[in-house]
């Protein structure tokens, strides 16, 4: 059997579905295929944040801010609830060294137009009465928001289908070649050949495996994250939370504090995130593990480390139950920026992937930018930092 379309999107996670939807909106005939099931990859094993505060000033922060603006109105466009909420976010600061680093970081973000501030101990207590006394201050941004990734994916699917988009799960790309007319012929695991003018690879952490079918090497690798999910409880603070120690480790490695369990911290890449879902469960994160490959497993060491960390920062949480411990793969790139645009030397092949931990936040803007590239509204010379680049993994 043979199917025809303008654009074949390989990967049906939140990024692929966003690309599919925005291309459909421009009138392209789009088919999305995914080797796995709805929500079975990273879009279903992540937290739900549109976090602006963690972004370094520059293209990533600018796009995140634009993406947030799109999310504010996306439910109207897609015609369904997306669980969008703007709870704000705070990054907890434990000592003067961290404070100095965060003050500098916050002022550079403010100069990019981000609404963020450093607040004193008193305001921290007022907004977060259950956070341990050891924290001396905190950042605060009212703009940090969240959505339910499953609802966003369903929204893109349903709205896309109304525009003629076709989505097929459990259908993998097996081989790819060009025919005499220069169109892609992609053989799939169901025995179909899909003929398409353009192919978009949006397979997240698995993008490089798909890239192999097209004889390209995409510098995206899986970085495992483990999260704990709690029972539903009432809100215990005004905003979602992170800790500055992790940000400081990234921004100023020389200041990284030596801990009791340093090797464990390094191996697990432990950082603190604490977010309340639209449904009332808290998501407690997370690890950043380089060596796990595609092993979608959780381990007791991480469970213990994440529990100890949250009990240390929010003592009240000791009394709350964990109902599930999950793992997922962030699609990471060597320079920490997503890859978006046409692949050099391969006509009709595009990559939209490598968002690491920002896939949920960046989904709308990614699909929109890709459709702008397709229609020629956006010249890729304005996006030098994102277009596929040669990097050593």
């Amino acid at each position: 059997m043979k199917r025809y379309c303008d654009s074949l999107v390989i990967g049906g996670g939140i990024i692929g579905l966003s690309c599919g939807y925005y291309l459909s909106r421009e009138g392209f005939k789009v088919q999305v295929i995914d080797s796995m099931e709805f929500g079975s990859g990273s879009s279903g094993a992540c937290d739900d944040m549109i976090l602006l505060q963690s972004k370094k000033p520059g293209v990533v922060l600018e796009l995140a801010m634009e993406s947030l603006e799109m999310y504010r109105f996306l439910h109207m466009e897609l015609g369904c609830d997306l669980g969008f909420k703007q709870m704000g976010g705070m990054i907890l600061i434990e000592n003067q060294e961290e404070l100095a680093v965060m003050e500098e970081f916050v002022s550079s973000q403010r100069s990019c137009g981000l609404n963020v501030d450093i607040v004193d101990r008193e305001e921290l207590r007022r907004r977060q009465p259950h956070v341990s006394d050891r924290f001396i201050s905190s950042t605060y941004s009212p703009d940090d928001s969240q959505v339910d990734p499953f609802l966003v994916m369903k929204g893109f699917i349903n709205a896309g289908q109304r525009l003629g988009m076709e989505v097929r799960y459990r259908e993998a790309a097996v081989t790819a070649e060009k025919n005499g007319a220069g169109r892609w012929q992609v053989l799939t695991s169901t025995g179909c050949i899909v003929e398409a003018e353009n192919v978009v690879i949006s397979a997240g952490a698995w993008s490089n495996i798909v890239g192999g079918l097209f004889d390209i090497s995409i510098p995206i690798f899986p970085r495992r994250g483990q999260l704990l999910i709690t029972e539903k409880i009432p809100p215990i603070g005004e905003t979602n939370l992170w800790s500055a120690s992790y940000m400081v480790t990234k921004l100023r490695p020389d200041l990284a504090k030596v801990r009791e369990n340093q090797s464990e911290y390094n191996e697990l890449g432990l950082g603190f995130s604490f977010t309340r879902t639209a449904h009332g469960n808290y998501l407690i994160g997370s690890t950043r593990e380089e060596q796990a490959g595609f092993k979608k497993l959780v381990d007791y060491r991480a469970l213990e480390a994440l529990s100890r960390q949250v009990a240390h920062i929010i003592p009240l949480m000791r009394h709350v139950h964990i109902i599930r411990h999950i793992a997922g793969f962030r699609p990471a790139t060597p320079d920490g920026k997503m890859i978006l645009g046409p692949w050099p030397g391969k006509e009709g092949l595009y990559v939209a992937s490598g968002h690491e931990g920002d896939g949920i936040a960046m989904a709308p803007i990614t699909g929109k930018l890709l459709s702008d590239i397709f229609t020629g509204r956006k010249s890729i010379t304005n996006m030098k930092e994102l277009i596929p680049r040669c990097m050593v993994v």
Binding site: G39, S40, F150, T230, V310, A311, P315, R324, H325
Partner: protein, 96 residues
């Protein structure tokens, strides 16, 4: 029939028979997929109660034999466990 459709299948997340059937009609064919699509099984019991009911609904709707329906992915802890059980040193917060 209306009552039948409103019957709760997943009590933790309050997901009705109608929502499960809608998910199957929209192409979901596995327990994991229905869980991600509807939230059925994401609650306190982690699908211990509803997964057999949903497996039967899938079997009835799709004709797939019951014993070919793969169980949902199991993750620890096997029942809800308080955080302080996992963080013995966290109990004495001042010294941790």
């Amino acid at each position: 029939m209306e009552n039948e459709q409103n019957r709760l299948i997943c009590r933790c997340e309050e997901i009705t028979l109608e929502e499960i059937i809608q998910a199957i009609d929209n192409g979901c064919t596995s327990l994991n997929e229905i869980k991600r699509y509807t939230r059925a099984g994401m609650g306190l019991c982690q699908s211990r109660v509803c997964s057999r009911l949903i497996a039967r609904i899938i079997a009835e709707k799709t004709g797939k034999p019951l014993d070919e329906i793969v169980p949902v992915t199991a993750r620890p802890p096997s029942r809800p466990v308080r955080i302080d059980i996992f963080s013995p040193r966290g109990c004495n917060v001042k010294n941790s």
